[in-house]
């Protein structure tokens, strides 16, 4: 599938997965891939401390938009700020600050489960309706399970039977259930427990939320290096190539090669297992051996992302 075609499938992409699997990495790679294809991208961060801006070499994100790279803008979204915006947009400006400052929002948010999630998703919906960018990427909360985050509007419809928040919830459901407007991209690493958890999450989202699932991103895949057989006779190769390799160094080379081969094998079998359990296309992103996520690495990841999407059959 062509990258531009993929990026125009739905305007909002919610990137979700458990902490530490590479949601930020995926968000950055997708953003850059789309921007290179000429699209304008807005990244929304719910927690504001993911290191995304640092990876682009920019200062910490704020509620006001900043440009991270050409055609890539980013900002944070907090429930408090989203509520203020919402109230101010509904002629309740004077009361709004007080609601937040007295801590009343906490009480209200407790009274209405999922209220904070609704405020955030409601803001995303508004940004989508305002067509602020060609593609909106939401880096979903890490700890809050993606499922409860996405289920929040349905839960809210049960708890609140009237009023504008209810309207907000049903508008959010409209957005989530329209594949042209929104899809979820799940991220995992090729290891046993994260794969199992991703499969559970995917089925829960499909069964209970009804939002379209995009390709699954398998992050942290060791770049395939064929070191297995060559690990066997290093001294013989050294003789052929007419170089000296000390026995100790040969030992280190062999152990490192064996470790790599074993992990590559494990990763491949976990990715295959994921494919068996979950009939969704996979896009694989490489493990970064050489440096932490920075502008150069995002470049490499965007290439890998683009290649991964282009290898997918046209849906």
């Amino acid at each position: 599938m062509e990258l531009t075609r993929f990026c125009s499938t739905s305007r909002v992409v919610i990137v979700a997965g458990k902490g530490g699997v590479g949601k930020t990495t995926t968000t950055a790679a997708l953003a850059l891939a789309a921007a290179r294809a000429g699209m304008s991208v807005l990244i929304l961060e719910v927690e504001g401390k993911s290191g995304l801006s640092a990876a682009f070499g920019r200062p910490q994100l704020t509620y006001a938009e900043t440009e991270l790279a050409p055609r890539i803008r980013a900002r944070t979204l907090t429930p408090d700020q989203a509520l203020l915006d919402y109230l101010q947009g509904h002629g309740l400006r004077r009361i709004s600050k007080r609601l937040v400052n007295t801590g009343a929002l906490d009480v209200v948010a407790t009274a209405v489960p999922g209220m904070k999630d609704i405020l955030v998703l409601g803001k995303v919906k508004q940004l989508d309706l305002d067509r602020v960018a060609d593609l909106i990427l939401l880096d979903a909360p890490a700890a809050g399970h993606a499922v409860s985050f996405l289920l929040s509007p349905r839960g809210l419809l049960d708890a609140v039977r009237m009023g504008p928040i209810r309207k907000q919830a049903s508008d959010v459901i409209d957005m989530l259930s329209d594949p042209a407007r929104c899809q979820v991209m799940l991220v995992t690493i090729p290891e046993e427990t994260p794969v199992n958890e991703l499969v559970d999450t995917a089925f829960a989202i499909e069964d209970r939320v009804g939002v379209k699932l995009g390709p699954v991103v398998v992050n942290g895949c060791y770049p395939q290096v064929d070191v297995v057989e060559s690990g066997s006779d290093i001294q013989h190769d050294a003789e052929l190539a007419d170089v000296f390799v000390s026995p100790r160094e040969a030992h280190d080379l062999a152990r490192a090669a064996e470790f790599r081969a074993r992990r590559q094998e494990l990763q491949a079998s976990e990715a295959d297992r994921l494919a068996d359990l979950l009939p969704l296309p996979q896009v694989r992103l490489p493990f970064l051996f050489h440096a932490e996520l920075g502008p150069d690495e995002i470049d490499v990841l965007a290439d890998a992302f683009t290649a991964g999407i282009e290898a997918l059959p046209v849906a």
């Binding site: 458990k18 902490g19 530490g20 993911s50 290191g51 309740l92 009361i95 007080r98 609601l99 007295t102 801590g103 009343a104 906490d106 009480v107 209200v108 407790t110 009274a111 209405v112 489960p113 209220m115 890490a142 700890a143 708890a159 609140v160 039977r161 009237m162 009023g163 504008p164 928040i165 209810r166 046993e192 199992n196 958890e197 290096v225 064929d226 070191v227 060559s230 290093i234 013989h236 190769d237 050294a238 052929l240 190539a241 170089v243 100790r248 030992h251 280190d252 080379l253 152990r255 490192a256 090669a257 470790f259 790599r260 074993r262 992990r263 494990l266 051996f289 050489h290 440096a291 932490e292």
Partner: protein, 388 residues
């Protein structure tokens, strides 16, 4: 005063495992409890959200409110454990822990029933951020008072901020103390008379946004809760004291990833501000290091070998050269990541001062049985010996 891992499982009374999500906290907690039991202690591990297969191995099929003792034959396969050792496990049930607490402090069964049925309460007990943390600490207190365990190892919830559990008791009290909502506790008609015009407007606004039913639920809850705050407050105070107790040890769990380490460092700092030392630092998923050659040297060797292979037309020599080049590249990759991990960890290692630092290398498989836990235990307790 800090203690080694051995000392911790042999003499610690309460061990709290903290760290950000996905770093292996639950596994580390289970390993520490198992090692305690092997050392002859009556140990229990309180888990929060274990991966399914680990939960299964610990005999935890469902959430429970009481620990369940694990058959010795299961956890002491090699029969080497001290005869007095016992091991129990539980998976925290936040809601029923909270329900028990309400029933305990209610003045009458009717008061308890009114609260337990209230919708606002049900939301608090199920979903309020911090409740899970608070209940984990509450359970800890209960096991400490009445459980008869020598060693209680607690896993902490995978919070957005790793230290939510420290603030959880206070956070709940703040919610109950919220002055705006205390006004709501007055009888419905009276509050309209007493409350200032501003408050009335304010309450009407909330009703407008979320509907009157929600406000009524909240009012009913605060009214039903009347008289119980004192009990809760005292209990929260005792939990906080217990955290600062001499027999309570803190184990910080992390991985060498930059973001996890930053979180761990922040956590160690916050604990320090509270006057609590980190007793041990467990670093999981460490990449192995092979030899001590520098990555730069290895990388340039690889480049050189590849270049030489490029100059020959003899296929056997060419392929031998490029095979060697890729071996050097591969070793350079691992030396590079290992150096970077060491660099990330330097800050937190300094921050935890004299605490024992134990590294657990990348494991070939996930841990989901007692053999796996024991293998990690060996890495932790035997692998850490002789380190500086």
């Amino acid at each position: 005063m800090t203690h080694s891992l051995d000392d911790l499982v042999e003499h610690g009374h309460i061990v709290i495992c903290c760290g950000t999500g996905g770093v292996g906290k639950t596994t580390s907690a289970a390993v520490l409890a198992l090692e305690g039991a092997r050392n002859g202690r009556h140990a229990v591990v309180v888990t929060i959200d274990p991966a399914k297969r680990l939960a299964h191995a610990l005999g935890l099929a469902a959430l429970s409110n009481t620990p369940h003792e694990i058959d010795r034959a299961l956890w002491d396969g090699d029969g080497e454990a001290a005869p007095t050792g016992r091991l129990a496990a539980m998976m925290l049930d936040t809601k029923s822990t909270f329900d028990t607490l309400v029933s305990r402090y209610a003045e009458t069964p009717e008061q308890a029933a009114r609260i337990l049925q209230n919708r606002f309460y049900r939301n608090i007990s199920g979903a309020l951020s911090g409740t899970q943390e608070y209940m984990a600490m509450e359970k800890l207190h209960e096991l400490h008072e009445d459980g008869g365990y020598d060693l209680i190892v607690v896993d902490t919830p995978p919070s957005r901020h790793a230290l939510d559990f420290l603030d959880a008791p206070q956070r709940l009290m703040r919610l109950l103390d919220n002055h705006v909502f205390r006004l709501l506790m007055m009888p419905t008609r009276a509050y309209l008379r007493v409350a200032s015009v501003a408050v009335q407007v304010f309450l009407r606004t909330i009703s407008k946004v979320v509907g009157t039913e929600v406000v009524e639920d909240v009012v009913a809850f605060f009214r039903a809760f009347e008289g119980m705050e004192q009990g809760f407050r005292e209990r929260a105070g005792r939990v906080i004291e217990l955290l600062a107790d001499e027999g309570t040890r803190f184990v910080l769990v992390t991985t060498p990833r930059r973001d996890a380490v930053q979180e761990a460092e922040f956590f160690a700092q916050r604990l320090g501000e509270t006057g609590i030392d980190v007793d041990a630092l467990i670093v999981n998923r460490v990449h192995p290091r092979f030899g001590d050659e520098s990555p730069e040297g290895l990388r340039s060797r690889a480049v050189e070998l590849a270049a030489r292979a490029g100059t020959t037309d003899e296929p056997a020599i060419k392929s031998a050269g490029s095979r060697l080049a890729s071996l050097y590249d591969n070793l350079a990759d691992f030396q590079e990541i290992s150096e970077r991990e060491g660099h990330h960890l330097a800050g937190v290692q300094e921050r935890v001062g004299s605490a024992e630092i134990a590294h657990v290398a990348f494991l070939a498989n996930d841990v989901h049985d007692f053999d796996g836990l024991r293998a990690v235990g060996r890495l932790l307790f035997e692998g850490s010996k002789g380190r500086e």
